[in-house]
Amino acid sequence: MTLADAKYQYLLRMGDNALILGHRLSEWCGHGPILEQDIAITNIALDQVGQARSLLQYAAQLEGKGRTEDNLAYKRDVMEYRNVLLVEQPNENFAYTIVRQFLFDAFNFLLHKSLVNSKDEHLKAIAEKSLKEITYHLRYSSEWMIRLGDGTAESHQKIQTALDDLFIYTGELLTPDAVDQTIFEAGIGPDLTALQAPYQAKIDEILQQATLQKPEVKYMQSGGKDGRMHTEYLGYILAELQFVQRAYPNMEW
């Protein structure tokens, strides 16, 4: 794998993660459980879609085929998307949204803390801007993990169930493959294996405060970031996300 290929893939993965997670969050817009949380979730959605734009712009530039952020977002089908499976999981209830966000933020925070030292100046600049946002996201989702875990019996049970369901999607986040390895060796991104311990430590710390049990998982689910597989949810996300561009192709909006 050439470094150029790896960089393009890496940016796509990051961009797709941000876009799909932003999409899921934006589904809450107008339907949040409390007005303040409607605003907060929409705010995180905004950050994620904003980050997706920067990342996909850069990916398109690296690809060098004249595509734009919108071409990448609106014209790829499921099997060309490179987001991790975690971010496409549905908002079954607010607990799922919080757990998904927390499990992703804890990873994303460590990733960006490392990326601010990237040898790639462009990615470094994006990461510096994003890190501030992600620091807030992680604080927000951690607080809600604790609030719901250490809230009522009902909320505890709901968030434990969400955690049990979603934890199987965390393996993919920090299991490096050839792309990650190439990026690491080029000094552009972190050694993912080195982030595993701090990731688990963060999870443990918050779950302990939230009085939640860490699920025991024999097999992790993966396939999103390397494009091997997605869950059936992604197709529905894209049908909605891409409708206007697909129905009215090649227009300015």
């Binding site: 107008g30 459980p33 007005l35 719901l148 909320s155 300015e252």
Partner: protein, 323 residues
Amino acid sequence: MKAPADYAHLEDQFQARIDAEEKIEPKDWMPDKYRKTLIRQISQHAHSEIVGMLPEGNWVTRAPSLRRKVALLAKVQDEAGHGLYLYGAAETLGAERDDLLDELHTGNAKYSSIFNYPTLSWADIGAIGWLVDGAAIMNQVPLCRCSYGPYARAMVRVCKEESFHQRQGYEIMLTLARGTEAQKKMAQDALNRWWWPSLMMFGPNDAESKHTAQSMAWKIKRFTNDELRQRFVDITAPQAEFIGLTIPDEHLKYNEETGHYDFGPINWDEFWQVVSGEGPCNRQRLKARRRAHEEGQWVRDAALAHAEKRRQRQAAKKDQKVA
């Protein structure tokens, strides 16, 4: 309880302050009816912001470009923010947000009827920004000088943001109107569907409007419905012309004599139908708000329970230190 004479005196003083353009503040004395009128108006306004998130939120996941998606998300977030500080303003008058929400969810409180129309294409997002926010600003700019301080100050911020939204909406329409045939058609169709409901946003004709006189005296209202509606038409008609869209009113015509646009009769039957809860989306809007509230109950309960646990733990810690 005050004797009638005292009360009359207080009312005179109150009116004198208003006449002198002084702001009334939460702790000041005010007539009960002033307080009630304001609570009703401010909470209706807050509800409108919250319900207004629904038709626009409906296109967030389907916005046609990432740039537009970000702008739309930001806009809807602004509306939630407006709702938040408007509920806050109502609370300065002694209302409770929970009670106000109950009124909304049981269908007793009103909100702007315009949000009972569906958003059926991306162009509707443009039309809402241009027309609905445009009409809202027309209504709200005078409220920045409203006699009640907290409301007036909230309105200053709201109007600033609405004005930004309005320009954004107009720009969406402009882009579509200058786009392909399909886009132009989409824009024209949106204008066709949103034009008349926008005119209805100013409320019944002055002759039919119950609250106007008292509200004008209290400077809660500074222009009549018909005055504001005329101003809106006068500003919007040339904007439509500029981008090459046709306002769906065969009577619309600039009147050289009056210096205003004449326009056709409004379908007041439709207006009253929608106000009475029978518009195209009244049920869906209320159901969506109620569902969000009901499904959010366990989250609010958890937040309260957790806060209480923390309070108790901290109290226990303090007790230990003292002991």
